[in-house]
Amino acid sequence: MDTILIVDDVAINRSLLRQTLESLGTYNVIEASSGNDAIEQFEQHTVDLVLLDIMMPDLDGCQTATILKEKMAEDHVPIIFITALTSDESLATALESGGDDFLSKPFNFSILSSKVTAHLRIRELSKQLNTKNKSLTRLNQHLTNEQELIEHFFESSIKQSFLDDNLIKYHMSSMSVFNGDVLLSERGPQGSLYMIVGDFSGHGLTAAMGTLPVAMIFFKMASENASIAEIAREINAQLLKLLPSTMFFAASIMELSACGNILTTWMGGMPENYWFSEKGELKGLIESQHMPLGILLDNEFDTTTQVVTVEENDKIYLYTDGVIEAKNLQGEQFGDYRLKNTLINDKHDRFSAVLNQLNDFTSTNAQNDDITLVELNCVAIAPSENELIDTSNATFLPWNLTVELKTGDLMAPDPVRKITDIVSGLPSVSKHEGMLYVLLKEIYFNSLDHSILNLESEDKSGSDDFINFYIKRDEEIKKLKSDFINFNFTFFNENECYYLKIEVTDSGSGFKSSKLPDSDSSLYGRGLSLIDGLSEEAFFSKDGKVFTVLCKV
């Protein structure tokens, strides 16, 4: 039920008005005998309509209306003046003070009725509007919170990028809050630099969604020293699973070797990269050879990479199509031509030159795609602080470990892998795992082939003999009875260097070095020279029965 407040200093007028209203409909009518009384009543009740006498002592109707309007703030409660005044001017003043309408005394019954009904309807509409406004404000707040959360999520998923300004200069600008362009870089465990510059089809949040799986795969595989081909294949396979068929990911995936001289690239669906020498001559273009990622099935996918040898301070420019497709006010595109010219003509700071040109060109025109420009400087990659700490500060305790392979172990597949896993589990040698495996394998087969099985390397002189040698070895292994190969590892520190000494003994007759080949193109005899090259020192003692290999670690 609507509540109507009648304000009049004359009791008989109030009572008359109340009777009239109550005969018109079911209203909850309350009365006030003065302006101050009206304000008090207004605060105590939820009033839907005010009928306000203008001529009152103390606070008159106009002053009262002004105060009431202030009190209702955004909530609209109509005020209708009751007045005997007829001059236009005084009516105008009354409406200006905050009233919404007026009724002249004496009342016309039907006008009173229609005005009250009309104003109550406006009041109802304004209440609905207020409710909607409030829920929209809440919704908007909710969306803003969600957006901030997602932004945070994106930022933290890609911020681990290793962006050394000595190596990488970049500019990324997205046309909305979320970027469909991707720039990720990471230093691999062998010190090389991995980088992805890419562009999801579309822009905004939908395009940015794909960056999450790409970032996760990239950082994980880079930390595992994966090849560029492997990374490309894995990202393709995952995106194929995740993305709708209309979406794909154009990308350049690169690895710059730790020495900064070899650049490996897998590139699909991206505009060509420009390659400049330090002196500023254009050495070449690195062009896309593949379709974008997320389209081809795994068995159709081509992992071929391009490998180029770069020189110190060579620069590679990568960019997404947002650069060449940026439009000026006339709708003309920036284009390959302007980009290439700017790169070739500016010898000092091509990167800034392109950005300035692009900025001048587009002037005030709104950006219509995400834009990314990257300059890769080919230099040797400085070791990370962690690596420096590892070698300078870390101290390791000396240890000794013996592993003995018995007949059963020699027959099992890849015993060397098992030994490597044990030894490389120790913190002092863990980072040399790959090299240790290569070394132990040579040592192991030297013992097995030439001491225990007594096979002759000479048997390997032709490529068929070579294969037969391995077949023969497999047969001989099956005949082993009570043989063993014993590996003794000693890790120690001498003159501030760490060493791993490997002493190998076995159940065989020992190694006879009489038949080592000397030609470089010989198919065999390479194992020992490999061991020699990988170690500080390698020698046989006790009549070829003990083989000692000393490595710096």
């Binding site: 062998q190 020293n225 081909a229 492997e230 490996t264 990479t305 032709g462 390479r526 194992g527 090259g533």
Partner: protein
Amino acid sequence: MAITSKFTENNNVLTICVEGDFDYSLAKEFKSKYNNEAHTIKNVTVDLSKAKTIDSSALGMILGMQKDLNLANDCISLINANDIIGKVLKITNLNNRFNVA
């Protein structure tokens, strides 16, 4: 499948891609990739991008292939070697013999 291969340019150029540990266990498979087309092959590229380690017998296999195909040193390229394999190629001097990138 540890080894994949493909021919281009009228079967003159062979690319062999080795995955995982490139060692003696692949000797037979490695030979099978070139043996049937031995007379047409003029150029071989061994793509090591997926190879993790290499052993001396793998080096023997590459040399054996050179002999079988009767190819000059510069007709054989070893590409995409990781740091470990790169070091092995260097120690054994094969990086000077073949094209290594």
